[in-house]
Amino acid sequence: MAELSLTGIAKSFEDTRVLEGISFDVHDAEFVSILGPSGSGKSTIFNLIGGLYQPDEGDIKLDGESIAGKRGSISYMPQSPSLFPWRTLLDNVMLGSEIVGQQDREASLQMIEKAGLGGYENAYPHQLSGGMKQRAAFIRSLLSPQPLICLDEPFSALDEFTRLEMQKWLLSLWSEYKRSVLFVTHNIEEALFLSDRVMVLSDRPARVKKEFKIPFERPRDESLLLTEEFLEWKKAIYNELRMIT
């Protein structure tokens, strides 16, 4: 179970208002994406949910309980891979679960294999490419046991092909385990392909400018990307984003 709800969240850094009146929900087992211009405050929203700092106004609830300023209630993948240079890939991937105190070596090894990193279990981060590091950080968040996963641009460093593979993998995992996902991206297509709902943020101070409910049937596969309907949706969201900047 993971029901996230943000109500009237506002946050300023020094004198600049970054977020204002952000309200949205992520329902149990739902996949929600956040789209917004660079610097609009997407990562800041994640930091607030993760409890890194308190919101100036508003409240954040997970399953009815306030988690504002409370750490450790989400599985998290930061925008930069943030792997620990002295840990091997396997130890890095297990870190999230290690902190909570529930490691599963077998499951970790399987995940590494599935992410196409098999054979690199004992490699150190400096021996991995940018895309491989990103995949490792992605698995680390999947292996953390919290029911809400927050992914901050998880696939931005991957080539088109690997990215599609990882997206499909994420979808299959998600439909299998039914965790709630909050997903930040710059890529409209990615948001459309993955999400139940897409939220578009306005420029500073960020508000939820518009919310799109994506009606595509699940399970989805890549043939969806080329349909007329998909392109229509893409256009609609593109226009929404263009009006911001």
């Binding site: 994640f46 930091n47 993760g50 409890g51 890194l52 750490r71 450790g72 209630s73 989400i74 998290y76 930061p78 930069s80 943030s82 620990f84 240079p85 002295w86 840990r87 870190l95 999230g96 290690e98 902190i99 909570v100 150190y124 400096h126 021996q127 953390s144």
Partner: protein, 256 residues
């Protein structure tokens, strides 16, 4: 390994050249041995006099090791305390820097007055000498944690203990080791100086005896023994460092 051989031959050549010049100079100018002995005389004494200074050497090694272990443990412990309690750090950091400015040579006789000729004043001297480099470098290593990794740890809900042991401590290790290397060489010097204060045995004693009886060759032997000791100590720490920080060394070489 091959790298060391490739890079190492040039400095080695210079050292050999210096020895050759020294040898030739002492012969050509007929410098008396009590003034400056030739390298070959020093080597002779070093080999034939082994039984004379053997026990001195062991005593110094023991003193150095005990002092080094106490001094560095103390330094690391203080660094950790200062790091974990910021108010204490602000209060005591200037004091640590002062500790480096204490003139050991002046302090040493005082320590003898206070604590006698036993082990204690010697260990205090070595501890003082080791303390500063290790404390400062450990403290710096602990403070300069990557903000990105810290961000991740906090978001993942890590406790302060987890942040320390999983992030700050391993992050400080490379810095701690560079402090250890400096402390290791200092501790040999500290041991010899403390033996000058008055001791029954030790390279410092051997050296004092040698110079007061104009056995200059023996003074040179002790100089070289001290250098060899420092170097061995340094190399040992470097080997330990290679083992503890194996995640780093390779990467730097490859990407460089």
């Amino acid at each position: 390994m091959r790298n060391i051989v490739q890079k190492g031959w040039r400095p080695l050549l210079v050292i050999i050249l210096l020895f050759v010049i020294w040898e030739v100079a002492t012969r050509v100018f007929e410098i008396p041995a009590w003034l400056i002995p030739s390298p070959s005389q020093v080597v002779d004494e070093g080999i034939s006099g082994w039984s004379v200074y053997e026990h001195h050497l062991y005593s110094t090694i023991l003193l150095t090791l005990i002092g080094f272990i106490i001094g560095t443990s103390f330094g690391i412990l203080v660094a950790i305390c200062l790091h974990l309690i910021p108010t204490v750090r602000n209060m005591f950091y200037p004091l640590i820097i002062f500790s480096q400015n204490i003139p050991i040579i002046v302090l040493a006789p005082l320590l003898v007055i206070w604590f006698g000729f036993g082990m204690l004043p010697k260990l205090i001297v070595i501890t003082l000498v080791c303390f500063f480099p290790i404390a400062v470098s450990t403290l710096d290593g602990l403070r300069q944690t990557s903000t990105e990794l810290m961000h991740y740890m906090k978001m993942a809900g890590a406790s302060n203990g987890q942040i320390f042991w999983k992030l700050e401590w391993p992050h400080a290790l490379p810095s701690l080791f560079s402090g250890l290397k400096i402390s290791a060489t200092y501790s040999v010097m500290g041991a010899v100086i403390s033996e000058w204060l008055g001791a029954k045995e030790g390279i410092g004693v051997y050296m004092t005896l040698a110079s007061s009886s104009f056995r200059t060759d023996r003074v040179f032997v002790s100089i070289f023994v001290i250098m060899a000791l420092s170097l061995t100590f340094f190399l040992l720490i470097t080997a330990l460092e290679k083992w503890f920080i194996r995640w780093k060394s390779k990467g730097v070489e490859n990407s460089g």
